[in-house]
């Protein structure tokens, strides 16, 4: 039987570094693996012994792309442990901060990491030579997201303003209003983004996924909601570990999460969209229908359209929050520690982010557990690779290699959250 190996040393345009290998024998795929050898950083280990108020600052450092997600999940988990809840305008400010991160992160992925694949470019800088208007729009929209994070959070990467209980300082009304016009532009730019990505050529590839995301009775989920799936899960964050578990496999320093009873599941924009379409504002629902993805979208390559729809949602939501903003009485509420445990999930740009902490009466962390979205998606990514390669054996090795990279990029994996060094290795035996 013919045997050959296709090798790409580095999978580019993902956050962090990792690898993957697909073994083929004749015309059958034998194995597809996402290899992650990110040097372990042991966050859960050294969180023990730290003060509960330090968790947002420390866990932000897990990821430079989505630090807000870590700050939100950790703050909420600590507040739950301490029996308090942040409400009103402070809660809205947190939503605004998260909208900023979604915009910044989604636009980075759509235009700079994902779109070049569809248009046949190596990167966005090459793309800018032929499509300067497109790339300039992307940079302006990304900057808008970053400026929201900087206004509410203090700075774009590793914000300093969020804390357990709220914020250190809240923005002034005029500072918020200054973003209004830009967000109106952002809504238009998001609509143009949806139009653009809809024209991309998409491979015909659909899978039967178990989608898992938060679900809130009347909001598209960011910080709150029950954890639901299209296959019957409907639980609170406190029950998370009863339904999900992590495995430690040899080829990854990022633990593989699975539904205990069934195995792989899918988190992120596609999961949120399929489980919460009716919670999107009308403008986003209409744009999605017009883009032809319907209320359900099961083609992971089309996640780029879903991300664009979510960017539109985030701009729209941010504008609503700004228009209804009243300065809260206090920048934060008091949070008194006692021996307790708190669990929480929020929706990071890449999907569900679970945090769980135990603290003692002095507020010292005695136990910590963090399950980032990328480790939850690892099994789905491997499964997509397995089936995609199986259906596309006719492609040349070069083309197949690029498409396999794209299969991984569909999930916008944040390998730094969990992993490193992506090496693509297709073996044909």
């Amino acid at each position: 039987m013919k045997s050959k190996t296709i090798k790409v040393d580095y999978l580019a345009r993902v956050e962090g570094e990792g690898g993957l290998s697909v073994k083929i024998k004749g015309d059958k795929v034998i194995e597809a693996k996402l290899n992650i050898f990110e040097p372990p950083r042991f966050f859960e280990g050294f969180l023990r012994g730290r003060k509960f108020t330090e968790a947002p600052d420390i866990t932000a450092r897990i990821c430079g792309i989505c630090p807000v997600a870590y700050q939100m999940s950790s703050s909420h988990a600590m507040e739950t442990a301490c029996g308090v809840s942040v409400e009103g305008q402070l809660r809205q400010l947190r939503r605004l901060l998260y909208c900023g991160e979604w915009i910044e992160s989604h636009v980075l992925h759509i235009y700079m990491l994902h779109a070049p694949d569809f248009l046949g470019y190596q990167d966005a800088i090459q793309l800018a030579k032929d499509y300067p208007d497109v790339v300039n729009r992307a940079l302006k929209l990304k900057k808008l997201g970053n400026d929201i994070v900087a206004l509410v959070g203090g700075r774009e990467i590793h914000p300093i303003n969020p804390r357990v209980g709220g914020f250190y300082k809240v923005p002034k009304k005029e500072e918020m209003n200054a973003l209004g016009e830009r967000l109106k532009w952002g809504i238009d730019a998001s609509l143009e983004t949806i139009q653009l990505v809809t024209t991309f050529p998409f491979p015909d590839f659909e899978q039967d996924y178990e989608y898992v995301s938060l679900c809130h009775p009347d909001e598209y989920p960011l910080n709150r909601g029950r954890i639901i799936s299209n296959k019957g899960i409907d639980i609170s964050a406190a029950e998370f570990l009863n339904y999900f578990e992590e495995e430690h496999v040899k080829h990854s320093t990022s633990l593989h999460a699975k539904v205990k009873e069934r195995g792989r599941y899918h988190v992120g924009p596609m999961a949120r969209y399929n489980l919460n379409f009716d919670k999107l504002p009308e403008i986003a629902r209409e744009a999605a229908i017009k883009a032809g993805i319907g209320e359900k979208c099961h083609n992971p390559f089309k996640s780029i359209i879903v991300r664009a729809v979510e960017t539109l949602f985030a701009c729209h939501e941010a504008l609503q929050i700004i228009e209804n903003y009243e300065i809260p009485d206090k920048p934060s509420i008091d949070v008194k520690p006692h021996q307790s445990t708190g669990h929480w999930c929020t929706e990071a740009p890449r999907g569900l982010l679970y945090h769980h902490y135990s603290i003692d009466d002095n507020g010292i962390i005695t136990d910590a557990r963090i399950i980032p979205p990328t480790s939850q998606n690892q099994k789905v990514i491997e499964d997509d690779l397995f089936h995609f390669v199986g259906k596309n054996m006719n492609l040349s090795d070069e083309e197949l290699t690029w498409k396999c990279e794209q299969v991984v990029r569909n999930y916008d994996p944040c390998i730094s959250c969990s992993c490193h060094f992506l090496k693509l290795n297709i073996e044909r035996e």
């Binding site: 580019a12 280990g45 590793h158």
Partner: protein, 259 residues
């Protein structure tokens, strides 16, 4: 320092969160101009294209934590005319250097079910412990304008204009009332290098040391003052032991408060 032709830039990642290299992509207003002036020759987070070395400038993010990376950094050094470390992980070992004060085997057992799969060094160390470093940009994360200044300085064969004085100077210049004096908030500003624009004091909180120790910091005196503000030894130890825990002045300070 750099060629007359467009100099080639490479970006390398070791143990880190990606935030510092993301700072380059966060230069939304400057990115395309930077890409005109320099050849972004090897930047996997942004491009599939890899141009062969050697490189005129290498930006190195992250700390050394595995035997493999301890080898790889030498290869990076050989390929680089000018090597710049960016961010607290690369310049000081990063938050992951907290392992240096504990038992890494215990951490591994705590986090991973099968510790035998994990290959890691007992310490997280800065790049300068392994190879010669030409320049460093501090911060967790770095200031993106420092990055633009660095690239601009290299293109013009001049020294980058990056301050090494304390955060206090920035704070005074901004006219912020001292949070330690007026509110009794513990603040690391007097011993921390400038760079963030005294962000935390302007948000009603004390500096927590993202930019690491300034030149000749008096950590002992600051520790005493923190004690007078009713902070326990353990709290003072934790303050020095965060994102720049293994940078020598902070390491010594935290160890002096260890029971």
């Amino acid at each position: 320092m750099v060629d007359k032709l467009r100099p080639k830039l490479a970006v390398w990642k070791f143990a880190s969160c990606d935030g510092c290299q993301l700072s380059l992509l966060d230069c939304e207003d400057e990115l395309l101009a930077v890409a005109e002036a320099i050849e972004i020759a090897n930047f996997p987070e942004a491009s599939r294209r890899v141009l062969k070395g050697p490189y005129d400038v290498s930006l190195v993010e992250g700390s050394i934590t595995t035997p493999h990376d301890a080898e790889r950094i030498h290869k990076v050094r050989r390929l680089s005319k000018f090597l710049v470390t960016i961010g607290s992980c690369a310049t000081g070992g990063g938050i992951q250097a907290l392992r240096n004060f504990g038992d890494v085997k215990e951490y591994t057992r705590y986090v991973y079910a099968n510790p035998e799969y994990i290959e890691t060094l007992s310490k997280s160390t800065p790049i300068s412990d392994h190879v010669y470093v030409d320049f460093e940009l501090r911060g967790c994360p770095i200031n993106k304008y420092h990055l633009v200044e660095l690239i601009s300085a290299l293109l013009n064969n001049r020294k980058p204009n990056i301050p090494t004085y304390s955060t206090c100077i920035e704070c005074k210049r901004k006219g912020i009332i001292c949070v330690m004096v007026s509110k009794g908030l513990p603040c690391l500003g007097p011993v921390t290098q400038a760079g963030c624009g005294a962000l935390c004091p302007s948000y009603n909180r004390g500096c927590f040391g993202c930019y690491g120790p300034k030149e000749t910091p008096n950590t002992e005196s600051l520790g005493k003052l923190w004690g007078q503000l009713n902070n326990t030894d353990e709290e003072i130890m934790r303050a020095f032991r965060s994102f720049n825990a293994y940078a020598e002045p902070f390491r010594k300070a935290s160890e002096s408060y260890e029971k």
